[in-house]
Symmetry: C2
Subunit: 320 residues, 2 copies
């Protein structure tokens, strides 16, 4: 099975890169990291019924498995290059594999990511993707560089993916004829990794993380790693029109704070670098919203001191 | 869950490498490939009930998950450096995670492999490991370099892991007091990746593959990729004393031909390089047995022309 399936996947993700000296077909790929670059690597797993609902379209699963990994590279400011795919499926169903590979390949081509290796096995439906990107020495963004006084930003909008999940879970019944509903589902199923924004933020942001588990949880990681606190301006949280329209402001804000799967970038910027950062983002067609500031202390609070710690902190996959 | 479990794993696999500029704890690791080296990368998945039997000790699972990947690097002649671990477990059972991490770390320390990233999720029990190693430009061994007239070798002995599986499956009941039985189980549960042998073979072997699916299947990959055939000397197959003693010569030979999970290296050597190759292996305490030759044509046959193609070809995980 390994060889036939991996061939199907390779055919659907074909992409030539000069730095891939030996691709799929041997026991390992051989890759050349460009001079003057370091390697950023990450791995993430999607499990059916945990990270995507049963019945999700294979194309969307393939897209999302790569997207969540490219989002990790984006948070470091790395330029994506190569991916490995470990695919476990219950049956050697060619239509599922073709769909997965199609969605994976669609996003891979957008970022010139080459699939350089993989493994396909029989078992419960899950996928692990490992990605590799390039970043100049010393320029990777981390979670630990935030300082009190830094401004706090987030790209795009928050909560829409969680809104899409609410629709799936039937709290508001999903209506395929409702454009806002479709928009929210699209944000859940086909997240956009903020790759260009991440690269543009290098040299401007003092700390960065992608919002995969929810803003409060992920911002909390920056706080813990940097040894500072954060004061959030709840009224400034960027909410999509679709999210606000379907759920109203209060629920939308809660989803924006605690919902996972947004894959936006949350980052901090020293006050003197804010203008240059905004210009760098604008140059790549990205935008970010100022949502607060880093402060002395620890943990995340609202600027009026409201007890954000009492809210549900992110999407704990073991508690979900 | 992600953070607590990955911390447990990190604590049990701690190892410092100068080329790891940023390890576990950010969205991606940042790594420096040494000047003059290319990167060999591979990924492999183990699924409970498919790649290891239910009830296998967590320490053995952790060991094997890394071992099968290091074996892929060995087949390329790469020196292992870094690993990523994607772990999916049904419950956040600390004892299982500690066991896995312990076995993984035990083998990682033997080869100075640093765990640089990971992901832990809830779901059916499976692990994907991605490994990274170094190889000088142009020196990686592949499957495609074998030529007619090359001598054919395999390291160590074949069939013992398959013998261990037979004992587990009860065809011969496993007896824990039987030393030969224990030896065969050990070969199944704790394979030794032939890392030093692989590096020593660089510059001597014309093609190389690791024996994961069975000699006939894996040698068949060399034949297909190189466009040549192979003639096997069945009487020369290296069988362990334990395998021969438990199963007798005929069954032992069949297990050696078709059993998976040996993780020995099967490789070809131009006639003029055989002496130098043997010396290079001896210098690292490894040994290999000459088991035939590459010939014009295609596919694997016995030197007396016996129809090896009619035998079961390796361990197809979808047919198992």
């Amino acid at each position: 099975m390994e060889f036939r399936l991996i061939d199907r996947i390779r055919d659907r993700t074909a992409l030539t890169r000069e730095d891939v000296r030996l691709g799929i077909g041997d026991d390992a790929a051989v890759l050349a990291v460009p001079a003057g670059q370091q390697l950023a690597v990450a791995i993430d797993t999607l499990v059916e019924g945990v990270h995507f609902p049963h019945g999700t379209a294979p194309r969307d699963i393939g897209w999302k498995a790569l997207a969540v990994n490219l989002s990790d590279l984006a948070a470091m400011g790395a330029v994506p290059a190569w991916a490995l795919l470990a695919l476990t499926v219950p049956h050697g169903d060619a239509a599922i594999v073709d769909g997965l590979a199609g969605g994976f390949g669609e996003l891979a081509r957008q970022h010139a990511v080459a699939l350089v290796g993989g493994d396909t096995t029989r078992g419960p439906f899950c996928l692990s993707v490992a990605v590799h990107g390039f970043v100049p020495p010393g320029q990777a963004m981390t979670r630990s560089g935030a300082r009190a006084g830094d401004a706090l930003f987030v790209t795009g909008s928050l909560g829409s993916a969680a809104g899409g999940l609410q629709l799936l879970q039937g709290r508001v019944p999903f209506d395929a004829n409702n454009e806002a509903h479709r928009t929210l589902r699209e944000r859940l199923d086909r997240p956009t990794p903020r790759v260009r924004a991440g690269v543009a933020l290098r040299g401007h942001a003092s700390a960065c993380i992608d919002v995969s588990d929810g803003l409060l949880a992920d911002l909390g990681h920056i706080c813990a790693a940097s040894g500072v606190g954060a004061a959030l301006d709840l009224d400034a949280l960027p909410l999509s029109t679709a999210l606000h329209g379907v759920f109203g402001g209060d629920v939308a804000r809660e989803l924006a704070l605690t919902g996972g799967d947004d894959y936006e970038l949350c980052f901090t910027v020293p006050p003197g670098s804010v203008d240059a950062m905004q210009a760098a983002l604008a140059a790549v067609g990205a935008h970010a919203t100022r949502i607060g500031a880093m402060v002395e202390g620890q943990g995340v609070r609202a600027i009026d001191g409201a007890p954000l710690a009492a809210m549900r902190m992110g999407w704990d996959h073991f508690g979900a």
